[in-house]
Symmetry: none
Subunit: 220 residues, 2 copies
């Protein structure tokens, strides 16, 4: 069955764009739209979407309040994907703390948008979407810390995964980690893949960065 999505944005143009991008996917279906946060709750109850793509800055009720309201009042709430224009948007971190599952830049490429929707639908959190990385590179290092901490908290690593991440953050290769933990390299690869998925990291380097930025490991 397809992933169902509810679009919430005050700009019709943005909604139309998201709809076009997402509807092009056979496994994604846009089941509704709302122009402000106040209309979200009844629509969520009625449509029961898997994912809500929610703008942060909206009239009446902003994305943060709407996120809190949905998570507080709806049983088996949908995943919330926060949509924003700026990567260094204070409201985005507020929304993540309010319980949103990931965020997405409006200027992201279509493939990245689709990827983000699928990921949150599967229950993953999104720390390092490619679009954010790129923008963070353009603006400097303003995007990181708080989002990193939030993502690390939300990651819910198992003990073994945390152990593997600590060794990754000391520069060990998969083979070396396997030797240290006295398991097979394939096992280590499984754990590493799980860590990457949970942190929304693309490779071990990004995972280590997230570990430092979140305070999971400390320098010195």
């Amino acid at each position: 069955m397809p992933v169902t999505v509810l679009l919430v944005d005050d700009e019709p143009l943005v909604r139309a764009g998201l709809r076009a991008v997402l509807e092009a996917q056979p496994d994604i279906e846009v089941v509704g739209e709302a122009a402000d946060g106040a209309a979200v709750i009844p629509l969520v109850r009625q449509l029961r979407p898997d994912v809500v793509a929610m703008d942060v800055r909206m009239p009446l009720l902003d994305g943060i309040e709407a996120t809190r309201a949905v998570l507080r009042t709806v049983d088996a709430p949908p995943k919330i994907l926060v949509v924003t224009t700026f990567e260094n948007d204070e409201y985005v971190y507020e929304a993540l703390r309010a319980g949103a599952d990931g965020f997405l830049l409006k200027r992201a490429r279509p493939a990245e948008i689709v990827h983000a929707v699928r990921l949150v639908a599967e229950g993953e959190s999104l720390l390092f979407p490619a679009s954010v990385r790129q923008l963070a590179a353009e603006y400097g290092r303003s995007g990181g810390n708080r989002a990193a901490r939030a993502a690390m908290d939300r990651a819910r690593l198992t003990e073994r995964e945390a152990e593997v991440l600590r060794l990754m953050a000391r520069g060990l290769s998969n083979t070396e980690i396997a030797a240290r933990l006295v398991v097979g390299t394939e096992t280590v690869k499984s754990h590493v893949s799980a860590v990457l998925a949970k942190l929304g990291a693309r490779d071990r380097t990004q995972a280590v960065i997230a570990a430092y930025e979140s305070g999971f490991v400390a320098p010195g």
Copy 2:
């Protein structure tokens, strides 16, 4: 004759604030504004300001690159006053090394801003205001792992290599770094290899760890 100033910042609000503060002075005149680094060079050629108040973090072309570009391509270049939000901004030092004449915190009081503009216009350099001196002192001790710091000092990275390492420490792949620096991937690979060799790192992950441990990049 008055001191003429060109404002370069991607945030209209910041430009408006600087303009208000500076225009209040009879001997200072704001002669132009730009929203990104790419627009700076033609404006400098056209307006020939005495001082350019340049943001470090900007889209398209950041303050460092813009500073280099201006100093390299303009005859009798203006004084460059780097404007930043954060005191511990790695980019600021980079900009100073690129030839900027001083820097200025956005949160500075109006009188300090005016003072800074007048000073650089007179040819003084503003490299170490109190806030930065303090931060440099903190870097001196809190910058973690002494061995890592020693290794980083011994490494003697070139400017380009340091730039590449910073981007590596943000999780960018070689391809992404190449796009950002507008060079070929082979070039990036050369720089990365040089960084790894100089730091004694086996792979990019270890290099990023060294960057964090040495304080070359700081979490938060």
